[in-house]
């Protein structure tokens, strides 16, 4: 009853082609954005920023990037951690070698470096597909890990191989407070997410989806596979690279290649699969699920154990966390193989019929 578009007539092409053609959706998104930008800063604690909001927002951006490649273009990639690393190290090197550049400009430029590297490692996708492509991108992961561990130029000859982000400033303002960090990360993510949403609705996104659904048919109707696949790799790596820069500069502050190891690639892949392939919203939901659930389990178990007078040790909590986390992932995938985004669209369908389901 509430969620029903009856009576919303579209009288112009613009209205018909809007990102959110249904008024309720528009309203919901605007409210969410308003809450994220204007309400959260007044209620969030520092812990919430540093441990929950900032990592979720940044990794959601990386998940969107991977979703472009996996969800929209159908190219499996296990190298997303590596592309994050390229973004982070490129941003670091730019800020060290060109000190007049603003750190946020460095992060954006780092995204372009990641895009270039992504295109290079995406080139094999023209010939190899599926699991074999996963192997090729896995090679990218290991190669890039190796480069940042071994080539000392990239770490500015630091004795330990660990590098530090420059101070975060813009126009003389210090942006190192958690609120500022959150706003910057959110700004990057929202702007880029909207841009991607538009790209996937346009002719480029349609080419990607054509390739994903059946590449031979797509080629026959005139989609150039090289252009489509490489553009997907470029856009995806750009987003992942920017996320990598943000992760390094804003969240970690100091990092080593282990921060962008194969584990990170798998984590992003789980986010995309659990959130929903081919859905921007799913990337956010997946990121929130993967980041929040372990922290939640870790903190909720001792009080729950306290209810039945059981003092749980730190080690037990952490074993339980791993077990419950794994079980929940399997449960969600069994119940809804299309991810959390699909749950949301089912909820919308139900809302449309409510209160008179047939």
């Amino acid at each position: 009853m509430i969620y029903r578009e009856a009576g919303q007539y579209k009288v112009s092409y613009e209205a018909d082609q809007a990102i959110f053609p249904i008024a309720q959706d528009r309203f919901l998104i605007l409210t969410l954005l308003a809450v994220a930008f204007f309400v959260v800063p007044f209620i969030a604690t520092e812990y919430l920023y540093r441990a929950v909001l900032i990592p979720t927002v940044i990794l959601a951006l990386a998940a969107i990037g991977l979703n472009v490649l996996m969800g929209y273009c159908g190219q499996v990639s296990l190298g997303s951690g590596a592309f994050m690393a390229v973004g982070a190290y490129a941003a670091y090197n730019l800020s060290i070698r060109l000190p007049f550049l603003n750190p946020f400009v460095c992060i954006l430029l780092g995204g372009f470096f990641a895009a270039a590297v992504g295109v290079v490692f995406g080139a094999p996708s023209l010939r190899i597909k599926g699991f074999y492509l996963a192997c090729a991108t896995l090679a990218a992961q290991f190669f890039i890990d190796w480069v940042f561990l071994r080539v000392k130029y990239f770490t500015n000859y630091a004795p330990s191989g660990s590098v530090n982000a420059p101070p975060l400033q813009m126009f003389g303002y210090d942006l190192s407070s958690p609120v500022a960090n959150y706003m910057v990360a959110l700004g990057f993510t929202v702007v880029l997410a909207l841009a991607v949403k538009n790209i996937v609705r346009g002719h480029i996104g349609r080419q990607w989806m054509a390739i994903r659904d059946m590449d031979i048919a797509a080629e026959i109707i005139g989609v150039r596979p090289m252009y489509a696949k490489l553009s997907a790799f470029a856009v995806s790596s750009f987003l992942i690279g920017v996320a990598g820069g943000l992760w390094a500069f804003i969240y970690l502050g100091s990092w080593e290649p282990a921060a962008f190891s194969i584990d990170r690639s798998f984590q992003l892949m789980f986010m995309v699969i659990i959130g929903g392939l081919g859905s921007i919203l799913g990337s956010f939901l997946g990121a929130a699920f993967i980041i929040l659930l372990p922290i939640f389990l870790n903190q909720a178990l001792p009080p729950i154990g306290g209810l039945v007078a059981w003092k749980i040790s730190t080690a037990t909590v952490s074993h339980f966390e791993a077990m419950a986390f794994g079980a929940l992932i399997v449960f969600f995938l069994v119940v809804e193989p299309h991810g959390l985004a699909r749950l949301w669209s089912i909820a919308k369908e139900k809302l449309r019929l409510w209160p008179f389901p047939h």
């Binding site: 060290i96 561990l149 330990s160 970690l252 921060a259 939640f296 870790n298 730190t314 080690a315």
Partner: protein, 443 residues
């Protein structure tokens, strides 16, 4: 569709729970909060558990025996990091504001987490005690105001290891033309000593051969093949967790003499040699001053902690190297708080006050004896310019059953270490746009 409804319900419940967990619980008003970043699970747990138990037991003993520090009770809470940097940062954020004055200090026991927290500590005004680990250049208190690598850095360790090799060979002039390999954990932790060893190899004329082992280090076949081909005269081992026992076992397999291997103090505990069985006999390691065994402080631990069933430690852990190190870690931290209380009064200290306490920590031999730590550590005196406090170390050897001290005390050679510290600290200050403090103006 029942399951699907359940899933929706579950998602709703979890999000409601998140909000509930976010709200903080009440804390005692006159308590000093000390956080513990631990790893009791994961690849490094065999080494993380005894250390964590030592840290917790010493604090439990202080609470039971003295009612805390100068009458201020200590509240202590652990958070599991699993040795992962991002979880460590989450734990830090979770614990830093607990208690009436926030966390007194953090001891992350992980080089990666130390690096990440080094960026955050100055903003939050919480000191980091990285006893025997962390950035080697962080001993320069003028640049690293909040870092305290007490008892020794990796550059001190590298220098002492070479001193011991020279002594075994019969003099520094004998080092010329020798080949010394460094088998290291391929992470900031393992790479830290390379800078110092490169300088030392130039000075003494030995050939330096760094050999990285990818984390976690359980697979070292190719590295030991390299060692067999290159035949170094000595192998320095810079490993942690499973990498140490794997290295000692592998050395036994290729028959590399174990007494030509010298581990850093993080490669010289029981979990590192016991899994290797007989192959571990003869293996040597640096000591972070102390070895295994029970100092007089154990009498009080027995009386107030073990006999009361308050300890998580297993019987074979008690008196082990890493357990002792945990005790020392808590002792140094609580003594620093005591030092701070002497200036600021007997109430819970803030991180800033504790920082002052660590910087002015002066443990004389007499005080160490009073605390029951006689024979475990030598005297140390921290200052604004020197956050390390002391550069003493010894070497002990595993005879197949226990560790035996086989050397006298060595002191790290500051003519070699200090220029390195100054140079990298200055570089860090330039990158981070930090103006170094003027120590002559500190009280």
């Amino acid at each position: 569709m029942g399951l699907r409804r359940l899933a929706l319900l579950g998602a709703a419940l979890v999000s409601a729970g998140m909000v509930a967990v976010g709200t903080a619980e009440a804390q005692g008003q006159n308590e000093q909060f000390i956080p513990g970043l631990v790893y009791r699970t994961g690849a490094y747990a065999p080494n993380g558990i005894p250390f964590a138990d030592g840290v917790a037991d010493y604090i439990a003993m202080l609470n039971a025996r003295d009612g805390g520090i100068n009458g201020v009770k200590i509240s202590f809470e652990e958070c599991e990091t699993g040795y992962a940097t991002d979880r460590g940062v989450e734990c830090y954020e979770r614990l830093k504001n607990k208690g009436p004055t926030g966390a007194a200090y953090f001891s992350p026991l992980s080089t990666g987490i130390t690096f990440a927290l080094t960026e955050k500590a100055p903003g939050d005004k919480i000191p980091l005690i990285t006893m025997g680990y962390g950035r080697a250049d962080s001993r320069d208190g003028q640049v690293f105001t909040w870092n305290f690598p007490l008892l020794g850095t990796y550059w001190t360790a590298a220098d002492v290891a070479i001193q011991h090799v020279a002594k075994e060979l019969g003099g520094f002039d004998k080092l010329k033309g020798k080949k010394i390999a460094l088998l290291y954990h391929d992470s900031p932790y393992g790479k830290e000593p390379i800078a110092a060893l490169e300088v030392l190899s130039k000075k003494y004329g030995f050939e330096f051969l760094p050999i990285p082992v990818p984390a976690p280090g359980s697979e070292q076949k190719s590295q030991w093949l390299q060692i067999r081909q290159q035949r170094p005269d000595y192998v320095l081992l810079w490993g942690w967790g499973v990498m140490n026992s794997a290295a000692v076992t592998e050395a036994g397999n290729v028959n590399y003499p174990r007494d030509k291997m010298i581990g850093v103090w993080w490669s010289g505990a029981e979990p590192d040699v016991i899994p290797a069985g007989e192959k571990g006999a003869g293996y040597k390691a640096l000591m972070l001053q102390h070895t295994s065994g029970k100092a007089p402080v154990y009498a009080d631990l027995e009386k107030y902690v073990y006999s009361q069933g308050k300890s998580l430690a297993k019987p074979d852990e008690i008196g082990a190297v890493l357990y002792n190190r945990g005790l020392i870690n808590s002792m140094l931290g609580t003594e620093a708080i005591r030092t701070a209380m002497a200036k600021f009064g007997n109430k819970p200290m803030t991180g800033e006050q504790v920082r002052w306490g660590i910087e002015n920590l002066n443990l004389t031999a007499e005080r160490i004896k009073q605390l029951g730590f006689e024979g475990m550590i030598g005297p140390l005196k921290v200052s604004c310019t020197d956050h390390e406090g002391t550069r003493l170390s010894r070497v002990h050897q595993w005879d197949g059953k226990q560790w035996k001290v086989i050397s006298d005390w060595y002191t790290g050679d500051d003519t070699i270490i200090e220029p390195l510290v100054k140079a990298t600290a200055a570089k860090y200050a330039a990158e981070k746009k930090i103006t170094p403090r003027d120590c002559s103006k500190e009280n």
